[in-house]
């Protein structure tokens, strides 16, 4: 629970209000992490927030943070050299190999691509592991798309990367519409697919519904839940969702578990 000091070594604007910070451990660091897990990031003197791990290797950790409040503002504006505190990693991740699947479908909306980015990089680092890797990305507008500089490399590594925005600007040459509309073009065999979905909760509900219509079994669809996570260890109960404590039992859960909970209003 004691924050490990990490130094900001790089700060990169992804969009006008979203920044990826690369953090280097000052001491021992937090150890191994898995895609889909999160850490509590402490901006000293301001507070801490849970943030999904969006990448990193060799001890470095990347967090992609949207500037929406006091703590996230402190993280987003932290200059290289600034020391932040991390504890974790917490929660259950995406678990790429369980259950085994032939095709991998990643469906992300908005900043939901951040916790899925390590899934894509890990899947593409293992050529032949999947028959098809499909990455479907949705955003409000082209300027809100994350990691656009990486799409070319993902395609070159064999992934089918499809992008849709809700509202196009005159420069946009891609798809316009909801991200689930891209499913029609995605190459995957539904019964043998693992589908990982992250984004606004309503988007995840509709995505999971459409995936179900296409024949992807509910237990092969995983979603990353967002609740008011404060301690990261299941002690405080702030992130309780029915029988789940999201920071401990999630944030990634199977749709077979999440569906009945997300259909309950105000749960």
């Amino acid at each position: 629970m004691i924050p490990q000091p990490y130094r900001v070594v790089e700060r990169k604007f992804e969009t006008t209000d979203t920044v990826t910070v690369t953090l280097e451990p000052v001491g021992a660091g937090i150890g191994r992490w898995a895609p889909g897990q999160f850490t509590m990031v402490y901006a000293f003197g301001v507070g801490e927030v849970p943030v999904s791990i969006s990448g990193g290797s060799c001890g470095l950790i990347r967090h992609t943070v949207r500037d929406v409040g006091a703590v996230t503002h402190a993280i987003c504006t932290a200059q290289p050299g600034t020391v932040l505190g991390l504890h974790g990693p917490y929660g259950h991740g995406w678990e790429l190999d369980h259950p085994p699947a032939e095709d991998l479908l990643v469906l992300a909306g908005g900043i939901g691509l951040a916790p899925l980015r390590p899934v894509v990089t890990e899947a593409l680092a293992r050529p032949g592991r999947y028959r098809h890797v499909c990455v479907l990305i949705g955003a409000r507008q082209p300027a809100d798309l994350l990691y656009t500089h990486e799409y070319g490399a993902w395609r070159a590594a064999g992934a089918q990367v499809l992008v849709a925005v809700d509202r196009a600007d005159p420069s946009w040459r891609g798809s316009v519409g909801v991200v689930t509309g891209l499913l029609l073009q995605a190459r995957f065999a539904a019964p043998r697919t693992a589908a990982f979905v992250c984004g606004p909760e309503v988007m995840m509900r509709f995505a999971a519904r459409d995936l179900g219509y296409l024949g992807v079994p509910a237990d092969r669809i995983r979603v990353s839940l967002e609740r008011n996570m404060q301690c990261g260890t299941g002690q405080c109960g702030h992130c309780q969702l029915g029988p789940l404590v999201v920071c401990r039992d999630g944030p990634v859960v199977g749709w077979d578990v999440a569906a009945p909970l997300l259909s309950v209003k105000e749960l």
């Binding site: 943030v51 949207r66 849709a164 809700d166 798809s175 909801v178 309503v202 509709f206």
Partner: protein, 155 residues
């Protein structure tokens, strides 16, 4: 332009599972067509005399807004069906459509298909049901976009 093969129609998601004989009758009112990038398929308020099954490429639905030009509303890609204004009077396009990339389609004669549906009510029910499903799907998608979901997502 050549007559579409049955296999071409049978392979399109919009007609998935349709009876082979019905596909054969429908195919008589269709032909393959293609559009170069930038080519306009139809314009707002024009006569809705055709519809298309998109096989490859991408088509944009647009509407002309004074001062802003043709504003892109939605794109349709492979596996989509384009055009339903031909189904109901006054048979006028509500929006325009332009190919964004080289686009391959199967193009149907609307009046012929309407006549076919009257002559063969079973086929008509099947086809109208498929169009209703597409309309509902696009309505749901539009409702989702109205929610402006991404504005409220969290880090």
């Amino acid at each position: 332009m050549t007559a579409p093969t049955l296999d071409l129609l049978a392979a399109h998601p919009f007609l998935a599972g349709m009876d082979r004989q019905q596909l054969d009758r429908l195919a008589r009112w269709g032909h393959r067509s293609q559009f170069h990038a930038g080519g306009r398929l139809f314009s707002e308020d024009g006569k809705a005399e055709r519809f298309w099954l998109i096989r490859d490429g991408q088509v944009a639905l647009d509407v002309h807004v004074p001062g802003r030009g043709d504003v892109l509303l939605e794109t349709l890609g492979p596996g989509s069906v384009l055009g339903w204004s031909w189904l109901f009077p006054p048979y006028r396009w509500q929006f325009g459509a332009t190919a964004l990339a080289h686009t391959l389609t199967v193009e149907f004669d609307a009046a012929g298909v309407r006549q076919l549906c009257e002559e063969d009510p079973e086929l008509g029910r099947d086809l109208y049901g498929r169009f209703i499903a597409v309309v509902v799907d696009r309505l749901q998608a539009t409702r989702l976009r109205l929610l402006d979901l991404y504005r409220e997502d969290r880090p």
